[in-house]
């Protein structure tokens, strides 16, 4: 696309190739888990549905639920409250305060977590303790959380995991720029996909074509993703130190606004249902809400809705806690609209693709899938170009292991979640998911290492994944999950759609492998003449 000096092209090629060899596999993990995590909420709805779909995320009666819970916690936990929906539409309310953690080094949230049935308003679960203690006990939403944590920080503790994913994001940025710079016929080759028995040219076309179409979004996702990781890992602390002389409170005041003067006198809270109704009347569906200083004169309430149809940027509304008056929209950062605030607000929808419900999530899922495909096809191409060198065959095996073994391990983790939920497996859900995941990954790794032919590795892993996806649906039904008729009549969209998607995905993989078995081992080689590989 660009006319570059030969030396520059070589540098770009080296960056692209070696960057992929070093970061490619981990990048694939992050991209694949991120792709699936686009549907994290829906996966939670699928795994732990209520008997019937809820009509509203926060129905009439939310106010009563919160009042009942507020009366049941120690006064210090009324300091902060965050309320949002979790698996199946259950309502999760976390009353908490910020306490010093046991190591005395970082503050930790401590309080009581309530899980409500949105229809009856009954308290389904109540956990008390520090956030990590609560998270270790709670169950709903953990499957989605497991996926998201892989994507966000590869389950490595903060800030190291964030730094790692931040660097992976930057390496993806380099791959986008170098790939764009060195590919000379971006538009002319956009439809060129020569299949020739799996030789270098076929692999090159597969990689180049997918990355050409995926380039704009790979760039956007790499940029926004590395922003999220690096901002959390060190950019925000660094800025806090420099611009605010290390004064975190001043930073928070600038970003969130001066808190009203401390006024601990008790005060009756206005009805939250009315506020939610107000947001609904403006065409929004509430996503979550926060309350500071519940039951005090200086209480503050904010409601954050999903984007209405046609909106890209998320919004937030502030309410007067005593009168219930809508104080209007509040910017993401600061007290008045600003470019900086809009830019930060833009990062979310661009990265998560959650601004237009199923439609945008499906598009983002497909784009992420293309990104994962680009990773694997690129690594395969690298090895194909070095087919005579035995050492690189290990990379090919590792690539196949990642490509198919990782999704297989995720299926195993999901199965562990379902089994724990049904009471078949005893113990906390997260360690069980880790065990199933690790075991499956280790087994597929051993397989990838010992099976003699590389094609055999792929065949075994693909067939296992195909069967695994189908088996997951069967397991869900066997363990007493809602059947398709009752799910369809109960309006449980996520259950039906994900079941169908899993079965279709499994069937497609099995059919693909079946056809590969039937196909001749080598298609006739054809001279490609002027259409040879054009990268140096």
């Amino acid at each position: 696309m660009l006319k570059l000096q030969q030396k520059t092209t070589q540098t770009m090629l080296a960056l692209h190739g070696w960057g992929a060899v070093i970061f490619g596999l981990l990048l694939y993990w992050v991209i694949l888990t991120g792709t699936i995590a686009v549907f994290a909420d829906d996966i939670n709805d699928w795994a732990s549905p209520l008997p019937a779909a809820i009509t509203e995320t926060f129905p009439l009666g939310t106010d009563a639920m919160l009042r009942k819970a507020a009366a049941d916690v120690a006064p210090e936990y009324l300091d902060e409250l965050i309320v949002f929906a979790t698996a199946g539409g259950r309502i999760r309310a976390f009353f908490h305060t910020h306490a010093e953690a046991e190591d005395g080094e970082h503050p930790e949230e401590k309080g009581v977590l309530f899980v409500f049935d949105p229809e009856s308003g009954d308290i389904l679960q109540r956990f008390e303790g520090t956030q990590s203690e609560i998270e270790a006990q709670s169950h709903y939403g953990k499957l989605g959380h497991f996926l998201v944590e892989w994507h966000v920080q590869l389950h490595v503790p903060s800030p190291w995991g964030l730094m790692l994913t931040g660097i992976l994001g930057l390496s993806l940025l380099v791959a986008c720029v170098s790939g764009f710079a060195m590919h000379r016929h971006l538009i002319k080759d956009a439809f060129l996909r020569r299949r020739r028995g799996g030789d270098v040219l076929s692999h090159k076309d597969a990689h180049v074509m997918a990355s050409t179409w995926n380039l704009p979004f790979a760039f956007i996702l790499a940029f926004t993703g590395s922003f999220y990781s690096l901002a959390g890992a060190f950019a925000i602390p660094a800025i806090a130190m420099v611009a605010f002389g290390g004064d975190q409170e001043k930073l928070i005041e600038t970003v969130q606004g001066l808190p009203p003067a401390e006024d601990p006198r008790p005060a009756e809270m206005a009805n939250i249902d009315t506020m939610l109704e107000d947001v609904r009347a403006a065409g929004h569906r509430t996503r979550f809400l926060t309350v500071d200083h519940w039951g005090r004169q200086d209480a503050r309430i904010s409601v954050f809705p999903w984007q209405a149809e046609g909106e890209l940027l998320p919004k937030g509304y502030a309410f007067d806690a005593q009168t219930g008056e809508n104080l209007g929209e509040k910017p993401a950062l600061g007290q008045s609209p600003s470019l900086g605030s809009d830019l930060v607000a833009l990062m979310g929808p661009l990265h998560f693709g959650n601004f237009a419900g199923w439609l945008s999530k499906t598009v983002w899922f497909a784009l992420g899938f293309a990104g994962a495909y680009v990773c694997i096809s690129g690594l395969t191409l690298w090895v194909k170009r070095r087919e005579q060198q035995k050492t690189w065959q290990y990379l090919l095996r590792a690539t196949l292991w990642s490509a198919w073994g990782l999704p297989l391990a995720l299926v195993a983790a999901a199965a562990a979640y379902l089994l724990q939920q049904a009471g078949v497996l005893a113990g906390a859900v997260e360690p069980l998911m880790f065990k199933a995941f690790g075991l499956c990954l280790a087994l597929s790794g051993i397989l990838a290492g010992i099976v003699r032919r590389v094609t055999g590795v792929r065949r075994i892993l693909v067939i296992s994944l195909g069967l695994g996806l189908c088996a997951l649906v069967a397991l869900r039904l066997l363990l007493g999950g809602p059947g398709w008729v009752s799910a369809a009549t109960g309006g449980l969209t996520a259950v039906v759609v994900l079941d169908v998607a899993l079965l279709l995905g499994g069937a497609w993989l099995l059919r693909r492998e079946w056809r590969k078995t039937l196909a001749l081992p080598e298609e006739p080689l054809i001279d490609t003449g002027d259409m040879e590989v054009n990268t140096p």
Binding site: Q10, L173, I239, S338
Partner: protein, 94 residues
């Protein structure tokens, strides 16, 4: 990326850890000269949002330009921002 072994090692160090460090310092330092805007957030929010871009520009520059010039330019940019930060922190202490 041709050159002697020493040049190659220096290029690697420059494009890797040093550019990352330079990015951090330039990002933090630019919060001191960027306009605040009415909401008083632009100066420190925009550098954080643009962090990946700052890094990418510095990285590709450090890889593609002549090694000597790239080192000097990146060093000057970093030094200026580091000086800004130092001055600001010293002032804050007084």
């Amino acid at each position: 990326m041709a050159g002697t072994r020493t040049e190659k090692i220096w290029r690697f160090v420059l494009a890797g850890p040093l550019v990352l460090l330079a990015t951090l310092i330039i990002m933090a330092g630019s919060s001191l000269w960027l306009p605040e805007g009415q909401a008083q957030v632009n100066n420190f929010v925009i550098p954080v949002v643009l962090l990946p871009a700052i890094w990418a520009v510095l990285f590709f520059y450090s890889v593609l330009d002549r090694l000597g010039r790239a080192s000097v330019v990146i060093f000057i940019l970093t030094a200026v921002h580091a000086a800004l930060i130092a001055q600001h922190l010293l002032q804050a202490q007084q």
